[in-house]
């Protein structure tokens, strides 16, 4: 049986605590039990210590030009709470776990994660609750609907008197 692939992203931010949490013994153990054998970490501006694991292959990259492709290849994405990253994953309809950086006082990111969780599109938590988050049933997550690309143009047309 082929193993599953996990993609961890921190965008362009620095979120070393997440990288450290994902690669600690306990979490790696849980991931192994869940059937993951490949973890790709996108580390942004952070610094990290490369971790080796006997049954999970870990690789580190600073940034990906083709983010969508990385998401596409993965079975689960763990992301920081940036709106851009979250949207990209949701649009690809991949299961998403969002980890809030509680060292940042950026509460509107929390606001977004809360709302998206309320609507059933993702699970969110902090580094210290990641172990419990991973045990949630990701098959229960709802698919993020594809947006209607004409709504904005219609609205602006109405504002400007084009329609």
């Amino acid at each position: 049986m082929n193993g599953k692939r996990l993609f961890v992203t921190v965008g362009t931010t620095k979120f070393d605590k997440l990288l450290k949490t994902v690669t600690n013994e306990e979490i790696l153990g849980i991931l192994h039990k869940l059937g993951y054998n490949q973890i790709q970490l996108q580390v942004g501006n952070g610094s990290y210590v490369e971790v080796k694991h006997e049954s999970i292959e870990l690789s580190y990259n600073t940034y990906f030009e083709d983010f969508d492709n990385e998401i596409e290849k993965s079975d689960l994405v763990i992301s920081h709470a940036g709106a851009g990253s979250c949207l990209q994953v949701l649009k690809k309809k991949k299961p998403l776990i969002v980890v809030i950086n509680d060292d940042l006082m950026d509460n509107h990111q929390l606001e977004l994660a809360q709302e998206l969780e309320r609507q059933g599109y993702l699970y969110y938590g902090t580094c210290s609750t990641l172990n419990k988050l991973l045990l949630q049933d990701i098959t229960k997550l709802a698919e993020y609907p594809t947006s209607n690309k004409t709504l904005f143009a219609k609205y602006i047309n109405k504002c400007m008197g084009f329609s």
Binding site: E111, L112, S147, L151, Y155, I156, C159, M160, F162
Partner: protein, 214 residues
């Protein structure tokens, strides 16, 4: 004699502009959004205010959906230090009709409060001749701090009859329950406010929600 006449005229003009400023504020805040009834035939000169990071991505995602024939030429105003956003704008527009205007950055990360007042004032004044020359029909912004001075300038120019700009503010996707500071300031200046979450609409009577944009 001549001098004092000029001075008096100046003061008169300025007070008229001030009065019209407050009249316009009153108009946009009290009337529920009025959409023009006359059909527009000429293309709209558009100014798009580019902030940074997530704001830029979001704004360009929306601009992509606009009809390029109707909204032309498109002027992108961004901070001269923001090369990431510049790259994103260029990769969206490639060969299409657009212009990029760089203005001095109003505040750098970690800059002290006092000096940021000075640099913000500088970048605000810097944008006056730019907007007066473009005289946009539409100013689009989605809430980075830098868009507030631009909207203020456009609004003053509107009060001075220099241009007739529709200011449209789109609140960022990450705002689900509360408005950003920029949003709360632009309640008084923007002609139209568009939000991306139904909950936010209840926070501002004037706000419009048309569905999921992104």
């Amino acid at each position: 004699m001549e001098d004092s006449l000029w001075l008096e005229l100046m003061i008169l003009c300025l007070s008229l502009i001030c009065l019209r400023f407050f009249y316009l504020v009153h108009k946009v805040t009290t009337s529920s959004a009025t959409f023009p009834s006359a059909k527009r035939r000429l293309p709209a000169k558009t100014v798009i205010c580019i902030g940074s990071g997530g704001h830029t991505t979001e704004m360009l995602e929306l601009v992509k959906q606009l009809d390029t024939e109707r909204y032309t030429p498109r002027h992108y105003i961004l901070a001269n230090s923001d090369t990431t956003s510049l790259g994103k704008v260029q990769s969206l527009e490639t060969s299409r009709d657009h212009r990029i205007v760089a203005i001095p950055r109003s505040r750098s990360v970690g800059q002290s409060y006092f000096t940021s007042v000075v640099t913000t004032a500088y970048s605000t004044l810097y944008s006056v001749p730019i907007l007066a020359r473009i005289r946009p029909d539409l100013l689009l912004c989605n809430g980075p701090g830098t868009c507030v001075p631009l909207c203020v300038v456009a609004f003053v120019l509107k009060a001075a009859f220099v241009c007739d700009t529709k200011i449209v503010f789109v609140e960022s996707f990450c705002r689900t329950k509360t408005f950003s500071l920029s949003g709360r300031i632009l309640f008084y200046l923007a002609d139209h406010i568009l939000v991306q979450w139904p909950l936010l609409k209840s926070r501002c009577r004037r706000a419009d929600y048309v569905g999921q944009l992104l």
